[in-house]
Amino acid sequence: MNKERLRSPLGRALGLGSAKDGVEQWWLQRVTAVALVPLTMWFLVSILVHMSSDYSAVVAWLRTPAVTVLMVLLLIGLFYHTALGLQVVIEDYVHSGRKFAALAGMRLVCFSLAVAGILAILRTAFVG
């Protein structure tokens, strides 16, 4: 009852209500951001430590169980955050019919890169 009173006459006539999940993307953008702070800092420090390491040392590092897990988490968080961020950018600047194609293409690329990266880590860890 209270809800109906808060609706504008036009909103009631068009039958448009809240989608109920509008906050979800905004919130997940923040959650992934907070998760990425320690993950990216860890990765940066690791890269600095391993800068003069040779190939076998890098592979041995990636095969460490904790490193494998953290790298997979980094890729999930990174590409989730990337997809949400690029979505906002596309929604702000791309209009008309190209918006859908841009959003779909961007999500496809982000998802593919995340899968490719995770598979590369898992193959390094478990194969060969």
Binding site: R30, A33, V34, V37, T40, L44, I47, L48, V49, M51, S52, Y55, S56, V58, V59, L62, M71, L75, L78, F79, T82, G85, L86, V89, L113, A116, G117, A120, I121, R123, T124
Partner: protein
């Protein structure tokens, strides 16, 4: 949008170009631009991991590119974009928590982001140069 037969021109707000750039607006768009740049650098991260899987020969070719001057400039851009986006993002999270909206605080936090991103980039590259004899 439903358009009637007679399309009336709606009033428009002034375009962004007529405003003088200020720290607040520059940092706002810088956070967005650095985010888009980091999305492109994320492709490089996956390429690097793929080079590890491909084996030592492909990996050493990748290292040759990374250590070339083009690769080093790209990495420097990546480092600065990362720290700018990180510091700017933390500033946004503080705003989201409801703090720091006074004009003085906004300028103070803005200059802190610029200084911190520059200093952290310098620290990483000086550390990298010291530990390898050349850039990271």
């Amino acid at each position: 949008m439903a358009s009637s037969a007679t399309k009336r021109t709606r009033p428009q707000s002034p375009n962004i170009q007529i405003y003088r750039p200020q720290l607040t607006s520059v940092l706002s768009i810088a956070n967005r631009i650095s985010g888009v740049l980091l999305s492109i650098y994320a492709v490089g991260l996956v390429a690097w991991l793929s080079a590890v899987v491909a084996g030592p020969q492909v990996y050493s070719t990748a290292l040759v590119f990374i250590r070339s001057w083009v690769g080093q400039i790209l990495l420097l851009g990546c480092t600065f974009s990362f720290f700018l986006h990180l510091c700017g993002g933390i500033r946004h999270l503080i705003w989201d928590a409801g703090y720091g909206f006074e004009l003085r605080t906004i300028y103070a936090s803005g200059w802190t982001v610029v200084a911190a991103a520059s200093a952290l980039t310098a620290i990483v590259w000086i550390t990298g140069a010291a530990s390898s004899g050349q850039g990271p």
